[in-house]
Amino acid sequence: MKSNRERYLVFALYAAVVFHIVATVVTYSLPDDSKGLLALGKAYTSDIFFQKWNFFAPSPGVITDKIWIQCHHQEDRWIDPADEILKHSYYSPLPSGYRRTYAIRELSTRVHKSLKAITSEICNQQAKPSEEFTYANQGHNVDLTADEMTICKEAFERIKKTKAYIDLVKVSREICDERFAAPSISNPSIILSQKHPFPLSAVADGRLPEKAYYKMSVVDFEKGEGSCQN
């Protein structure tokens, strides 16, 4: 190297590399409530180098969070916007609008989580394991259980103020606007549902019905009623 300046700069490059590697490895394993210097390191990795590939481990996301929308242009028809896109993936690896399904999944999952938290806080409800699903739980992951709880009116009012719900309404409205090539006059009605996986034990026992067996939890925001399952 020709000059000391370049030597120092090269040293700074390597120092940055070492810092990044150490910071990533150390802070990635830290709890979220770390304090002081560790919190600064955590902020560096989580803000700038946010890592988002842990959806499948340790507990894979096996529940399909879904929404059904009733656009006010067509009063009687409920549509599943994600399913309409996903069913094309049978023939085409990347169907048009595939990424929208990510938005629908992310938002409906968040609203479900908030509903469960708010229901247990406001409605004073303890989740009860669903009998139908207890056998699925034997020898398997708790993710497969379906804890049921009834959502009270106050919880509906609270959930409608959350960012996740507001965003979900916004996405639903955009779907309706695009579908009918005209802006909606009012917000669409939304039903939130969850599709649980068919338990392996039932498949092994030969209990797989011709039509796939699914447990759905339904939350109708318009009517303000429903049951929530995690």
Partner: protein, 296 residues
């Protein structure tokens, strides 16, 4: 000393770094161009998803808040696409690449709901690309110093892949479904992450789940160890490509798989990178007679 590490310190890494850099830029361009159709869905900032009280987030809150305005979002997306094209046509300088990173960061944060693991990964590798730009832009006068910058980029890209696999193995080893070999059976029942055909197959033959789940463990555990070996590097990379093509086909995670396969290019030796460059130039020359002029 393993071949890859030995050649890393002895030979010119410019071509290897350049291949990874430009492949990443093309990948991000395709990804962001596909956002144009979904630009109405780009409205979310990820402020509330990350450490809410972090100083970094607070310092840039006003920038993130800008992405909520649709006109600004469209401007940012168009600006990013133009800067990406500029990167492909001529060697980027520090200022234009830093501008690209700012634009990319804002559109990335503003489109959180449309992202998957692949976008996340390519976004991180794009940040590492700054080391390539430092080496290629004339920031350093001496060739030796430039070479160090290319090495820095490659160290980070390789670290990222190995860290991802190591973390995945660690996390999976904690999960009951992974340990029992039933993870694939359940994952493929999630509508969002399964090809309908793959779902039908796994429901008809659930024992395939064990055949699919355990090799994932083994592969992810072995990759960080074997990729440095002279004899086993190519087989493990081919296994990795097959593994990621399998993920793309069965789970529709095309961008993640494409990203991983592209980042595998960082494990090429300088000789392989040279061959790769010659082949790509040959293909481009056949596609367009003008390419030779550009290349020249």
């Amino acid at each position: 000393m393993p071949e890859l590490i030995a050649s890393f310190f002895k030979k010119d890494q410019r071509n290897v770094a350049a291949i990874v850099f430009y492949a990443t830029i093309i990948l991000i361009f395709c990804q962001k161009a596909s956002f144009l159709a979904d630009r109405h869905f780009l409205y979310e900032t990820m402020n509330d998803l990350i450490t809410s009280d972090s100083s970094f987030t607070q310092a840039f809150t006003f920038l993130f808040a800008m992405t909520k305005n649709e006109a600004i979002r469209t401007f940012l997306l168009a600006g990013e696409l133009l800067l990406l094209i500029r990167c492909l046509l001529r060697t980027p300088d520090l200022v234009s690449y830093a501008s690209l990173l700012i634009f990319s960061n804002l559109t990335y944060r503003g489109s959180y709901y449309l992202q998957d693991g692949g976008s996340n990964l390519s976004h991180i590798i794009q940040l590492y690309g700054m080391f390539f730009v430092v080496g290629a832009s004339g920031f350093f006068k001496s060739e030796k110093a430039r070479e160090h910058a290319f090495r820095c980029m490659l160290v980070l890209v390789r670290f990222q892949i190995i860290f991802l696999y190591a973390e995945a193995v660690f996390s999976k080893s904690q999960g009951i479904l992974w340990r029992s070999g039933d993870a694939l059976f359940y994952i493929l029942q999630n509508d969002y992450f399964s090809n309908p055909l793959a779902k039908q197959i796994i429901m008809a033959y659930p024992w395939l789940s064990k055949i699919g789940t355990y090799p994932v463990f083994v592969f992810q555990f072995l990759f960080p160890l074997l990729v440095w070996s002279k004899k086993l590097r190519r087989p493990i990379l081919v296994a990795g490509i097959a593994f990621h093509l399998g993920i793309a086909l069965a789970m529709n995670l095309w961008l993640f798989s494409a990203s991983m396969i592209i980042f595998y290019l960082s494990f090429l030796t300088p000789e392989e990178a040279e061959d790769f460059k010659i082949k790509v130039s040959g293909w481009m020359a056949r596609l367009s007679p003008k390419w030779k002029k550009i290349e020249g």
